[in-house]
Amino acid sequence: MRAPPGRSGALLPSAVAGPGRFVVDLDRFQGPMDLLLHLIREQDIDIFDIPIARITDQFLAAIQEIHPEELDSAGEFLEMAATLVRIKAQMLLPRPPDEEEEDPRAELVRRLLEYEQIREISQRLEAAESQRARRFPKGYVPPRPKPPLEESPLETTWEEVYEAALGVEVPDPKAREHQVTRRGVAMEEKVELILKMLPERGRVEFSELLRPWKEKLHGVMTFLAGLELARRRTLRLRQVQPFSELWLYWRGEGGAGSTGDEAQDRAAMPEEEGDR
C-alpha cells in the first residue's frame, strides 16, 4: 500500500510504446517532480544539460494519461508542464550576447536536485524507521491514576487554532444532508413519523414504529420523540406493566399540525438556528 519514495527508477520499466514515447503509470508518482526526475534519470540524461524539448514532449505525453477525475493532482502536473513549455520557449530565443544571462533551465535543475536529495533522505529515514521497528517498547504499562487533563499544560498556540479556523469552509448542504439526517436528526424524523401515524389511527404500538429498522439508535430516538411529544401533550404513553408493550395514544388537537411543520423545518437543519 505504501509507496516508498524514490522507487521510480527501479520499479518502473518505462515501456517505450513508440519512438521516444513513454508510457508511465502516473499513480506511481508522488507528483510532477517525481515524474520529471524519473524521465531524466531513466534516460541517463545529464541533469545539467537537459534536452528540454524532448523532456517536455515526454512529460506532456505522460500526463495525457491523467484521468479527468484526478483533476486535483492533474493541476500540479499541468503547472509543471507549463513551466517546461515556458523554458522550452526561452531556450529558443536567441541568447543575448552578454554572457551574464542565466540559463533558463537553472532553477528547474536546482529544484530537481533538491528534490532528488530529499528523496534520498526520505529513503534513509525509511531505513531508520525499519531499524527502529525491530526494537519493541514495553508492551503493557499498568494504568496509574492520570492527572486530570485540565491540569496538564497545553502547548497548543492560538496560531494553530486559527490555522484550523481558516480551514473551515461553508458546508455544502447537499453534501451534508444525508449525513446529518442519518446521524442526529433521527429524533425529528421520529417525531414526524409518529405525527403521521398517530392522528388517523388513534393509538400505535411502539414496536410497530420500530419495525422497519434494526439499529438500536432508532429505538432510542423513537422513544425520545415519544417522550418529547408526551411532554408537549400531543400524545400519552401507556404501558400496562414493566416490559410489556408500550402504546402511544393520540391526545387529539394539541397543535399537532403546527408541531409537524416545525419538525419539518428543523429536520432540514441542525438545532442551533432552530428558534430564529
Binding site: R144, E160, A165, V168, E271, E273
Partner: protein, 204 residues
C-alpha cells in the same frame, strides 16, 4: 537464543498477559514445559538481582509487572503533568465553537461533516469548552461555548479579540445561518440581512 531470553522478550513487549502455550509459539525450540521452566528461571533471576519487576501470574497468563513496593515512586512520578497538544480535529472543533458560540453539537457536526461528540468531550475535559446553555426547541440540545481558561490560555482579553479577517470563511466570520435551503451568503449585504435574524446572546 536461550529460551529465557525469548520468553523475556515476548513477555516484555506483549500488551496483554500470555499463557505458556501462547508464548511457546514464538519459536520451534519452545513448548509449554520449556516456557514454564524458563519463566521459573526468570523469576529466580529477577528476585536474586533485585529487579524492580517480576513475572506476575494473572488469570489469563503471565505478565511482567513492576513489583508493588515501587508503586509510590510511580505515582509520584505520574503526578507531574506532561504537556500535550490538541489534535487536528480538536483544533478545528475548538475554532468552530470559539467563533460560533453558543453552538450545539449538531451544528458543529454539520460544519465539520463528521461526528464530534468525542472531540467536544475532550475539549470539555481540558477546560477549554463548557456547556453555556440549552437551545430552545425539540430536545433542548446543549449549547457549548469557550471558557475563561480558553481566553487565558490563548491570551485574549475577551471574545471580541478573536481575529475576524477576510481570510475566514463566512461560516466563522459572521455566524451565517446554516439552513440547507438557504444558500451560503456570498453578497455582503445579504449577509447583513441574515445576521439581523440571528440575535444570539452575547456569549460573555
Amino acid at each position: 537464543m536461550r529460551p529465557e531470553q525469548i520468553v523475556e522478550a515476548v513477555l516484555f513487549s506483549s500488551d496483554a498477559p500470555l499463557r505458556a502455550e501462547e508464548i511457546a509459539r514464538a519459536d520451534e525450540s519452545l513448548d509449554e514445559d520449556v516456557v514454564e521452566r524458563a519463566i521459573q528461571r526468570l523469576q529466580g533471576e529477577y528476585q536474586e538481582d533485585e529487579r524492580a519487576f517480576e513475572v506476575a501470574e494473572v488469570a489469563e497468563g503471565f505478565q511482567l509487572l513492576t513489583r508493588p513496593e515501587f508503586a509510590s515512586y510511580l505515582e509520584r512520578f505520574d503526578t507531574v503533568p506532561r504537556p500535550s497538544r490538541l489534535s487536528g480535529p480538536a483544533l478545528e472543533t475548538l475554532a468552530i465553537i470559539a467563533y460560533r458560540q453558543p453552538i450545539g453539537r449538531m451544528e458543529v457536526e454539520y460544519i465539520r461533516g463528521v461526528s464530534s461528540s468525542g472531540v467536544i468531550r475532550t475539549l470539555q475535559d481540558r477546560g477549554l469548552v463548557e456547556v453555556v446553555g440549552r437551545a430552545e426547541g425539540l430536545g433542548r440540545p446543549l449549547l457549548y461555548g469557550t471558557t475563561p481558561r480558553f481566553l487565558e490560555h490563548f491570551g485574549f482579553q475577551s471574545l471580541a479579540d478573536l481575529p475576524r479577517t477576510e481570510e475566514l470563511s463566512v461560516v466563522l466570520r459572521d455566524r451565517a445561518p446554516l439552513t440547507a435551503d438557504q444558500e451560503a451568503p456570498v453578497d455582503p449585504d445579504q449577509e447583513e440581512l441574515n445576521l439581523e435574524g440571528s440575535e444570539e446572546s452575547d456569549p460573555q
